[in-house]
């Protein structure tokens, strides 16, 4: 990932509260060490029920949820949480089970990390999700997006790559702005289709692939080694997000 290594947190302000719902004690142990080391305040839950309870009583800033829980299905936990809270959820799931990830994301999870994962990757995902949550809370519309050679002036609907104007069709532009709105987060095919085209096309991902391919050719200097539009095979697309994020 293009995420930089985590910077040490300042100790003066109390860190964000994270509820970790995970049944495997080994994983809890190393996450405990790492997350506390990075300044998070950690609440551990061994089962889905405990996790839901903790989410209600501790008002966390973020929830890390393992999809394979002994009592309640992880997807069900997401649905119940989304019934009353918009708190960011980062899902831990086994690799190779793309369908589970998509289901979790479609159910309302913010992002995922495939097991086994590097700590840096998890921390990066957590940061992106926390920032998006803050932004939603503050409801701030950004006027411009800049990442590397890509510049998008949202107010004037102008897109430049390395200072060169790039002409985008309306759908390509809408696709790009949707990704910018969730920069750094993965968006499933369904979510993208829904936001860009509306409901009728949400089961026809090939429209999306066609336009995403066109968009990639317009804004990436080397489409095979993309810096902005990242493919998450089997799951969806992600805009890399500005560096230093």
């Amino acid at each position: 990932m293009a995420e930089p290594p985590a910077s040490p947190e300042t100790v003066s302000t109390p860190g964000p509260v994270v509820v970790l719902i995970e049944d495997a004690p080994e994983i809890r142990r190393f996450l405990r060490a790492t997350l506390i080391g990075h300044g998070y305040r950690l609440v551990e839950a061994e089962t889905g029920r405990e996790g839901l309870q903790a989410a209600e009583t501790r008002q966390p800033d973020l929830i890390i949820l393992d999809l394979g829980l002994p009592d309640i299905d992880g997807l069900e936990v997401i649905r119940r949480l989304r019934g009353w809270t918009a708190v960011p959820i980062v899902v831990l799931s086994a690799r190779g089970q793309e369908a589970d990830k998509v289901a979790a994301l479609d159910a309302g999870a913010d992002d995922y990390v495939g097991k086994p994962f590097a700590v840096g990757e998890l921390l990066a995902r957590m940061r992106v999700s926390l920032r998006h949550a803050e932004r939603t809370v503050r409801d701030v519309e950004e006027q411009a997006y800049k990442a590397g050679d890509l510049m998008v002036d949202l107010a004037h609907r102008r897109v430049t790559v390395s200072g060169q104007d790039v002409h985008l069709t309306p759908i390509e532009y809408r696709l790009l702005t949707t990704l910018i709105k969730h920069a750094g987060k993965v968006l499933t095919h369904k979510q993208l289709l829904k936001e860009v085209w509306g409901r009728p096309y949400d089961d026809q991902p090939h429209y999306l692939h066609v336009f995403m391919n066109q968009l990639r050719r317009k804004i990436e200097s080397d489409p095979a080694r993309p810096h902005h539009l990242l493919t998450e095979p089997g799951v969806g697309y992600r805009l890399a997000g500005p560096p230093g994020d």
Binding site: M1, R95, Y207, H209, N213, R216, T231, P233, G234
Partner: protein
């Protein structure tokens, strides 16, 4: 003493026999010359002795005939309640076979072996019940009088003048392990009879006059003694064979008995059997089906059938030959089977026929060469010879009409020719007509045409004309010759036709059999096989046919039936089950459960019964001739062999799969155990080093240890993923989700994931800008890129570039991943895709699954993958993905 060694084959046969006997019950026979000698008494005494020794003895059925002493002896022995059978108003008591089988005593007493069971019993004869008891492992004590022995039947009839109908076949008697002769001198027997100890008085007087004459009793006693002596001789011979004493077993002779529809034939068979028994020879009984067979009355045909059945019950092999002349067929068959003696009956043909047509005996003797011919006298045949030639069908009036019409036409033609040709040529016209009739009709109309021709010829063309009178006596010779020529010609024609018909029928059956075996050889599934068997049998045998196969518990169930919807009743299913378990033909027309609607033939192969063929024939008498039954059995055997072959093939296939699985598992285990242990050893070693002495290590060393732990763990992760992926692909659990995707996007995802691995190595991507979307499962194709890039980086030195290119070729996209390493070892390009194959470089670590996984993935996309060395050095893996099936989506506008 000379060096005699027992014949090993004979010893083996005996060992097998004894092995079979161990699981079978023993049969002890109390054998006597006549009723009243005390057989039942002796049997009961023996039973009491057994019971005193603690053996579980049960009285199955014992007939005391109202004799007080016998009844007293039976007291105290447990008795099996008899089965009561209602028969024409009377209640009969019958031996209850099923109760006996259920009770399973060690020894059971079953009196009167020759008894005929009441109608509706499972078996027609009691000896069949006894055989079933023996097969079930129950020992049997039974009694028998000499007049009931099948092969002695005719001798007894000659002595006493009474034909005994209840006989026991010798083959059943040979099952006896022990024979106890119960002997009583005739004078004593007569005394007992007069005292009323044998029959109740009223019957005694009558019996005395008929059967129990002193002369009879003496002769019967001698017969019984001789028969017992013969039987006692058999164990002696066994003993001699086992111990190689004296002469070895004589070369087996074969005796061929020729039978005819004559009532004398059964006697001939018995005579042959006695001869064979005495010589220790094999017995074959043959019937020759000449064209005359077709003209036989049903009663005569039945008699042939009965004779052949009798022969089979005496343990003989029966065969039906067919051909124009009896003697030629017999001699040809005798030579083929190395027969040493032929037994035939004294000819029954009258003298003049013998002179005209020749006798079979003469023909046989002339052609026999080294074969002995025994001619057995038929005098004293129990029934008078019935006329053999009985018109089998009602006369066919149309055929007679045709005969008359043909003669009329001939007369017309002859009338026209009369003024121009001589008389002898007019005769030719009539002969032509007669031959014509013979080719179209049967014997009767042909004879009519012959006679009518002569008469009409006389009337119209022989002077004085229009009169039956003959002026010139020379014409009488003309008439006689004309008649003989007409009769002989027509006779020959009819005979040829009959033979052609018989040959055609045989050919049809053989063709069907051949067709079936050929078809059976070409199919594999059992159901297809049964279908074919059923179809071919349906062509030959008319009726409803069902093929039944057993389930795991050995219960039969119909697997295939013809016609569709045919069902079998409970009785028929019972018969089928019995036939299956006993591997014997049962049901309709046989000795076992003859009342059933279906005839059940076991599908018996070398490994046991595979199932049962049940046929409900359209004509209930269709299988009465042994030949038809044999035919059915031949079909059944062919089917059984095919089923067995299919089952064996199935087993072999399963065994092969098992072996392959086993081989794979071993290869996997050896590969995985090494590959799993090495990183684990590093992880455990390095982490334990950190745990034990973290404070003593400098930070650089600590970092080093942690880095190696991380590296090894990542390696383990890759390995486990490969294994899981391979397993998933192989089990077919992967549901491929093809969507048109941009290949460069997918490659990008793979490159990103391998960022660390490829950090210090340029990857040159050459994808044309207009590369169309390819219908792929992005997750799987990403895996292909991951594996290929991973391989390329591991098999080429650090810093060397990796090239990835794609181009469209026809309806395919061709993708190449190349490195600048050492390339594949010669010949390894193909093996590279085998599971657990690893390149020659020993330093390189991996499971050897990467390319195998790629191949599986590319192939489920409908593409292909090959590996080769580049001319400029290094390895290239090239795979194709089809573009077809993808059409640019319509229905959405960009605006």
């Amino acid at each position: 003493m000379s060096q005699h060694r027992p014949d090993p084959d004979a010893l083996l046969a005996r060992a097998k026999e004894e092995e079979a006997r161990k699981t079978q019950g023993r049969l002890k026979l109390f054998f006597g010359a006549a009723a009243g000698v005390g057989k039942t008494y002796a049997m009961l005494e023996a039973a009491r002795a057994l019971r005193a020794d603690g053996v579980d003895v049960v009285v199955g059925i014992v007939e005391t005939h109202g004799r007080a002493e016998t009844a007293a002896l039976a007291e105290g022995l447990p008795v099996l309640p008899p089965r009561r059978v209602e028969y024409r108003g009377a209640t009969l008591q019958e031996f209850d076979l099923d109760a006996a089988l259920a009770r399973r005593p060690a020894v059971i007493l079953v009196d009167e072996l020759a008894h005929t069971n009441a109608e509706g019993s499972r078996h027609r004869k009691r000896w069949q019940d006894v055989l079933e008891l023996l097969d079930a492992g129950i020992s049997v004590y039974t009694t028998l009088n000499v007049q009931h022995v099948e092969s002695l039947n005719d001798v007894v009839a000659k002595i006493t003048g009474v034909v005994v109908r209840e006989t026991v076949p010798d083959s059943a008697l040979e099952r006896a392990d022990e024979i106890e002769l119960v002997d009583l001198p005739p004078a004593d027997l007569l005394e007992r009879l007069q005292e009323g100890k044998v029959y109740v008085p009223a019957q005694a007087q009558e019996a005395l006059h008929n059967f129990f004459r002193k002369g009879n009793l003496i002769a019967l006693r001698e017969l019984a003694l001789r028969h017992t002596a013969d039987r006692v001789d058999a164990p002696m011979q066994d003993y001699m064979r086992d111990h190689a004493i004296g002469k070895t077993w004589p070369v087996t002779e074969r005796i061929l008995v020729c039978v005819s529809p004559s009532p004398f034939s059964p006697q001939l068979v018995r005579a042959g059997h006695r001869l064979a028994h005495r010589l220790g020879a094999e017995l074959i009984v043959a019937y020759v089906e000449t064209p005359a067979h077709a003209r036989l009355a049903p009663a005569d045909r039945d008699r042939v059938t009965q004779t052949l059945r009798l022969a089979e019950s005496l343990g003989a092999e029966t065969v039906t030959l067919s051909g124009p002349t009896m003697s030629d067929e017999i001699l040809a068959y005798a030579r083929e089977r190395n027969v040493s003696k032929i037994v035939i009956g004294k000819p029954g043909r009258s003298l003049w026929r013998r002179i005209v047509l020749g006798s079979i005996v003469d023909a046989l003797v002339r052609g026999s060469g080294e074969i002995d011919i025994h001619v057995v006298s038929g005098e004293g045949a129990p029934a008078p010879l019935r006329p053999l030639r009985v018109q089998p069908h009602a006369p066919d009036w149309a055929a007679y009409g045709l005969a008359v019409a043909v003669v009329a036409v001939c007369t017309g033609v002859a009338w026209l020719m009369f003024p121009h040709v001589s008389l002898s040529n007019l005769i030719m016209v009539y002969l032509l007509g007669v031959v014509g009739v013979a080719t179209r009709t049967s014997r009767g109309p042909t004879v009519l045409a012959s006679v009518l021709s002569v008469v009409v010829f006389d009337f119209f063309f022989v002077p004085p004309y229009l009169s039956f009178a003959v002026s010139d006596s020379e014409h009488l010779i003309t008439f006689f010759v004309m008649l003989v020529v007409a009769l002989v010609t027509s006779g020959l024609t009819v005979r040829i036709r009959a033979q052609v018909e018989a040959a055609r029928q045989r050919e049809r059956r053989i063709a069907a059999l051949y067709g079936m075996s050929r078809k059976l050889a070409s199919v594999h599934g059992i159901d297809d096989l049964l279908e074919i068997a059923l179809r071919h049998m349906g062509e030959v045998f008319s009726g409803q046919i069902a093929l039944l196969l057993p389930d795991e518990s050995g219960r039969l169930a119909p697997r295939r039936v013809a016609p569709e919807g045919m069902t079998l009743g409970a009785t028929e299913m019972g018969v089928a089950q019995w036939a299956f378990e006993h591997r014997e033909v049962a049901g309709l027309g046989t000795a076992t459960l003859p009342g059933a609607r279906a005839l059940c033939v076991p599908l018996a192969g070398p490994r046991g019964a595979a199932g049962v063929l049940a046929i409900v024939p359209a004509d209930a008498r269709a299988f009465e001739s042994p030949e038809a039954l044999h035919q059915l059995e031949t079909f059944a055997n062919q089917t059984a062999l095919a089923i067995e072959r299919a089952q064996l093939a199935d087993e072999a296939r399963r065994a092969e799969v098992r072996m392959e699985t086993e081989r794979m598992r071993n290869s996997l285990l050896s590969s995985v155990s090494h590959d799993l242990r090495t990183p684990l050893a590093t992880i455990i070693g390095a982490s334990s080093g950190l745990l034990d002495g973290a404070e003593r290590l400098d930070s650089a060393t600590r970092r080093d240890l942690v880095r190696s732990i991380h590296g090894e763990a990542s390696h383990l992760d890759r390995l486990v993923n490969s294994l899981l992926e391979m397993t998933r692909l192989e089990s077919g659990a992967v549901a491929i989700r093809q969507e048109p995707q941009a290949l460069d996007g997918v490659l990008g995802a793979a490159l990103q994931r391998l960022e660390t691995l490829l950090r210090d190595r340029p990857v040159r991507v050459d994808f044309p800008a207009d590369l169309p979307l390819v219908p792929i499962d992005a997750v799987l194709i990403e895996q292909v890129f991951l594996n290929l890039l991973d391989n390329a980086s591991r098999y080429s030195p650090a810093g060397r570039p990796i090239d990835v290119s794609a181009k469209v070729a026809g309806l395919m996209v061709v993708v190449e991943v190349s490195d600048r390493g050492a390339g594949f070892a010669p010949g390894d390009e193909r093996r590279a895709f085998e599971k657990f194959y690893r390149g020659h470089s020993a330093r390189v670590r991996g499971v050897g699954l990467g390319l195998a996984i790629c191949q599986a993935i590319v192939e489920i996309h409908g593409g292909s993958i090959i590996a080769e060395n580049r001319p400029e050095g290094g390895a290239t893996v090239r795979f194709t993905l089809p573009l077809e099936g993808y059409s640019k989506p319509s229905g959405l506008s960009d605006g």
